[in-house]
């Protein structure tokens, strides 16, 4: 009852949609709409679940004094953005968009730019050409970095060309292989769900 019927429901839904791909006209348009509406409503309730989850987390943080003042600040900023969005709308040139451009964008850009320092620090400690493979990684990264700045072209005019070649061919080959692997892995996962073998999304 708690797991068996849901698994059966999942298998039936999976078979129906798998079959729909191969059999033209298996579902009428209004039947397709029936499922599509279900997914749209899932999105609506998903947002509500997210809001409830954030509210709950912050409530407990404030109640049990787990970094209480930061949680209050966080909630205050959420309310401020909602207030601005409701009062002034979301189009450009409104206080809401000003908060986005002058608060959200600088914070986001700075947080990500900070990673430059940590990446450089990690690279300094870990980039040692101890084997052919690690040497290849080191050389490829140096060439790509040089190819993206004017200094690379000043050192040797062919560096940008080699950088482009690396990005377009061996790097692209490695990326394709990893994407293939990702697809195969996700297909395997979906097949496990399809046959009811994967149950991690179900509660006890």
């Amino acid at each position: 009852m708690k797991k068996e019927i849901p698994i059966l429901l999942g298998i039936i839904t999976g078979i129906l949609w798998y079959g729909e791909f191969f059999i033209a006209g298996m579902f009428q348009e209004n039947q397709k709409l029936f499922f599509a509406n279900g997914l749209k409503i899932a999105g609506v309730v998903g947002v509500a679940v997210g809001v409830y989850s954030v509210a709950r987390q912050n409530y407990y943080k404030i109640k049990y004094n787990n970094e209480r003042y930061y949680a209050i600040l966080r909630v205050a900023m959420i309310f401020l953005m909602i207030f601005l969005g409701v009062i002034s709308g979301t189009s450009s040139g409104t206080p809401f968009s000003s908060m986005f451009m002058n608060v959200y964008v600088p914070f986001q850009a700075t947080v990500f730019s900070l990673l430059a320092f940590y990446i450089a620090s990690a690279a300094y400690r870990s980039f040692k050409a101890k084997s052919v493979e690690s040497g290849v990684l080191l050389v490829a990264s140096i060439i790509v970095m040089l190819s993206k700045i004017p200094l690379g072209g000043e050192i040797w005019s062919q560096i940008p060309v080699i950088g482009e070649w690396i990005m377009d061919s061996p790097s692209s080959a490695g990326r394709r292989a990893i994407i293939f692997g990702g697809y195969l892995g996700s297909i395997t996962m979906m097949i496990r769900i399809f046959f009811g073998l994967e149950r991690s999304h179900l509660s006890e």
Partner: protein
Amino acid sequence: MDLKAVLDNIFLNDVFVTWVPVLATIMIMSFLYRDNPLYKIGENIFIGVSLGYGWILSWEYIIDPFFIMPVNDMFVEFHMSDITNILWFLLALTMFFRFSRKKAWVANYYFAFLFGYMAGYYIPIAIQNIMLQSTSIMTDLDKGSFFETTKWIVLVFGTFAALIYFFFSKPHKGLLGKTARTGIVVLMIFFGAAFGSTVMGRVSLFIDRALLLVDHPVQSLVCTLAVIIFLIIYFRFFKKDDKTAEEDFI
């Protein structure tokens, strides 16, 4: 005075537009010295603003068109098909049972449906994508120049060699072993190139931040001094005990 005009005066005036981005940048940069309250305040403002922004957009693009408008239409004219929407809504509400320890299983029905739908829908599409990826590189060998042709050869054989590296059903010996080793080299070039691109992306973001500070010298100077004074006072008088994990890490 009109509330909208008051808000416009606060959030659209020059003081807000010039000082806040500079202060935000320096607050976050203060983390390079050590984890501190200014950084945490900045971090929490960032989280709050991004959540609020996301929710308002969710309202505009998800809740309003898929829930509010259909409900309004339902009150104007009720159709039999609206019953299915109500049923879907009730079923979707069972997602909230996930927050309960004892009744979490109630949500299983809805999650099973969603995952079953995704599985049935995704498998053919994923296979189709793999086929598309494979066929898109099977193009004419004559690319116009030797340079372009080598790109194609390395792309095709590099992808094949890297895939062979992930093939574990036979021991990597002989020709298979050599191909797998070539695959490792291809993957290493990819990782190196990905690393190089990421670093340059981050550096360009940093340059953008630095340019913002250069463009607003007065604000930058005042904010930097204020942050430095705060950090000195905080670490000298309020947080005397030691090094943080981040400092050890660096």
